[in-house]
């Protein structure tokens, strides 16, 4: 079949070019801050704060070294008495009359972020899938009201309840614990998960699990073996949304964590270097912080592309 000269549904070449240009402009605008952070992470502290900003510069790994280490200032005489530098970071530090005192807190904070974000995502998606299935398939008394209640928990900004949560957490000993943060992020995310997943599960014909139940499965087996494989798209999309929230969350993390369970977002901006903010280290911390989300999204992008339309274009 040939394409009609003036198709009603297909965009004209001009529209297509215009839309393409718009997308490119938007992509550039959103990418500039990321690119800038990435570049800054490879600058020296002086280059990072030079004005006008430098686009061409001598790349250095000083930011990454400073991110993972703590250093102390020493006299050149003292440094002379030490043996040869131990690796590249030591070399950079000595050039600035410093010696590496030990590892920084970045790695433990990063690990906290991983545990809390993935832990709460798994929990929110698991609870969300089960509740969504329940709401989708059973005659639940007050179903509409319950669903609205679940949705209403998202109507105010979560930080509005920060003080009560702070006091509650202090009373039950959940302050500054990973478990506390996992529970908190799960409770925020589970409402999103229920609503998103209910949409996906509603679209899976219930005949599938009914057929499986007649064929000899229990309802739970039918749910696991028949419904879940078909809901993977929705589960993947929901997991990404939950993960992004939990990974990026800043306000509660500042308020409720200090040492033990602190995540990366409150830690990164307060990396202090010589004479103020150590911008290359902050940029390096931010760059590495982006990696898990990028990897996770790339791994699930196939599902996400279909899932992002919330099941509207299921085959």
């Amino acid at each position: 079949m040939t394409v009609a000269a003036h198709s009603v549904v297909d965009p004209t070449p001009r529209t297509r070019r215009f839309a393409g240009a718009l997308v490119i402009v938007y992509a550039v605008i959103t990418m500039i801050p990321l690119a800038w952070i990435f570049l800054t992470s490879f600058k020296s502290p002086d280059d990072a704060i030079s004005y006008p900003p430098k686009i061409i510069f001598q790349p250095s790994l000083e930011g990454y070294c400073n991110l993972f280490t703590t250093r102390s200032r020493q006299t050149p005489d003292f440094i002379q008495t030490l043996g040869p530098p131990q690796g590249m970071c030591d070399d950079i530090a000595r050039s600035r009359n410093m010696v590496i005192a030990g590892p920084s807190n970045y790695l433990p904070r990063f690990v906290n972020s991983l545990i809390i974000a993935f832990g709460s995502t798994v929990l929110a998606v698991a609870l969300g899938t089960l509740s969504a299935y329940g709401f989708s398939r059973f005659r639940v008394p007050l179903k509409e009201d319950l669903l609205f209640f679940i949705l209403s928990t998202r109507m105010m900004p979560p930080i509005a309840v920060a003080i009560p949560i702070y006091l509650m957490y202090r009373a039950v000993g959940l302050s500054d614990t990973r478990l506390g943060m996992i529970l908190l992020y799960t409770s925020v995310n589970v409402s999103l998960a229920v609503w998103l997943l209910k949409g996906f599960i509603d679209e899976i014909p219930r005949e599938y699990e009914e057929a499986a139940m007649i064929d000899g499965y229990t309802r739970f087996q039918a749910f696991v073996r028949v419904v879940l494989p078909q809901a993977t798209t929705g589960i993947a999309a929901t997991a990404i949304f939950c993960l992004i929230f939990a990974w990026n969350e800043y306000a509660f993390a500042v308020l409720l964590t200090s040492g033990n369970a602190q995540t990366s977002p409150p830690f990164i901006p307060i990396i202090i270097g010589e004479g103020g903010q150590d911008w290359p280290a902050v940029a390096a911390g931010t760059t590495l912080f982006l990696v898990p989300i990028v990897v996770f999204t790339v791994l699930l992008r196939k599902h996400l592309l279909r899932g992002i339309t919330f099941g509207a274009v299921r085959k």
């Binding site: 005949e207 599938y208 009914e210 057929a211 139940m213 007649i214 064929d215 499965y217 229990t218 078909q230």
Partner: protein
């Protein structure tokens, strides 16, 4: 295979009374159609037999055993869904073998029985295809394969041909009935399509608003409808209804319709003066100049071998099925006559058919 007995089955969803005291029996090896318009409770009834819904009250017996509250998986039945419900992540072979796998049958036995089912349904060459690319009819064969592979006590089918196009449907009607005869399977088949029901069923149960209005052979359902609803629902075009007022004595052979007397099958019950309805199938209307009802031709639908002529009368528009070679001019005045031995009489208030000699010819009286 087994007999299915449904006794005083009731189902309410909140305030909605979906099935009201349904009673019927499907004998071993019989093909029963549950027929009715959408929302009449036929699917709910079927789902209760399957164990996908639990009844509010009543009993379901399968082969004599009370299974009313049993789990679907414990009933040993097979269900064919309108949307086929083939598992999209499995190929044809795995789909057909799935019920056996659930039962824990060995791999070699599964393979043997899947191949046998595929041979019966003539889909052997499709066994290794994914189900997503199959045509509607083939999908339905796979769904049937999944049903027959297990040799269950009975087959339950919920509008299995509803998603197919007309041509494929006609072919599948013949195949389904042939399959039924070959397997001798007790089958309950839900449909809203009277042609499907007429073509396949040994017995039809017509449902309306949750009530089973009549359970009888297709012939009896058509010739001796038990209620106004059945008479109206079955047949295309449906039965003509002529309202009149009058009483009826046992043994009466005529009724008064306006100023004329109309011969009817001998009445077997007496009725006080009340609103009644005379029912006439379009093919039992004859055109004669001395006809007892007069009217004006409104139009004719040509159907090939026959035509449907609509005549406006004082009793409303009547439809008559006549040979196609007769010609009628719009506006022409004609006289109509009815074949006396085929007429039905209904009580207008209750919709119930009045017992007459008509009912004595049928197997179910």
């Amino acid at each position: 295979m087994a007999q299915i007995r449904v006794e005083a089955l009731d189902k309410s969803f909140g305030t909605f009374h979906a099935v009201k005291s349904a009673n019927f029996t499907v004998e071993d090896g019989q093909f029963l159609c549950l027929l009715g318009p959408s929302g009449c409770g036929k699917t709910t009834t079927l789902r209760m037999i399957a164990g996908l819904e639990l009844p509010t009250s009543g009993t379901i017996r399968l082969g004599g055993e009370d299974v009313t509250m049993n789990r679907a998986s414990a009933r040993d039945i097979a269900f064919v869904f309108q949307l086929f419900a083939l598992y999209p992540h499995m190929n044809v072979r795995k789909n057909i073998g799935f019920p056996l796998k659930c039962e824990g049958v060995g791999q070699a036995e599964i393979e043997r029985r899947v191949v046998e089912a595929a041979r019966i349904l003539r889909i052997t060459e499709l066994l290794d295809s994914p189900v997503s690319g199959l045509a509607g009819g083939d999908r339905q064969r796979v769904a049937l394969g999944r049903a027959i592979v297990r040799k269950p006590k009975c087959f339950l089918m919920d509008e299995p041909l509803g998603a197919l196009d007309t041509e494929m449907r006609d072919a599948m009607i013949r195949e389904l009935r042939a399959l039924h005869d070959r397997l001798g399977a007790t089958t309950v088949y839900v449909t809203h399509d009277q042609l499907e029901a007429m073509a396949m069923a040994d017995t039809i149960a017509v449902m309306n608003h949750g009530v089973v209005e009549q359970v009888a052979s297709p012939r009896d359902i058509y010739d001796r409808p038990a209620s106004l609803f059945v008479a109206d629902f079955i047949g295309s075009p449906p039965m003509n209804f002529l309202p009149f007022r009058g009483g009826l004595a046992t043994g009466a052979q005529v009724i008064r319709l306006g100023e004329r007397e109309v011969a009817i099958p001998t009445a077997r019950e007496a009725l006080p003066d009340s609103d009644l309805v005379l029912g006439v199938r379009p093919e039992h209307v004859r055109f004669t100049d001395r006809g007892m009802v007069r009217g004006e031709v409104y139009g004719a639908e040509y159907l090939g071998t026959t035509q449907i002529v609509t005549v406006t009368t004082r009793y409303g528009a009547l439809k008559a099925r006549t040979p196609a070679h007769l010609t009628f001019r719009t506006g022409e005045t004609v006289g109509l006559d009815f074949r006396p031995d085929t007429l039905s009489i209904f009580d207008k208030a209750s919709g119930r058919a009045i017992r007459t000699a008509l009912h004595e010819g049928g197997a179910h009286g």
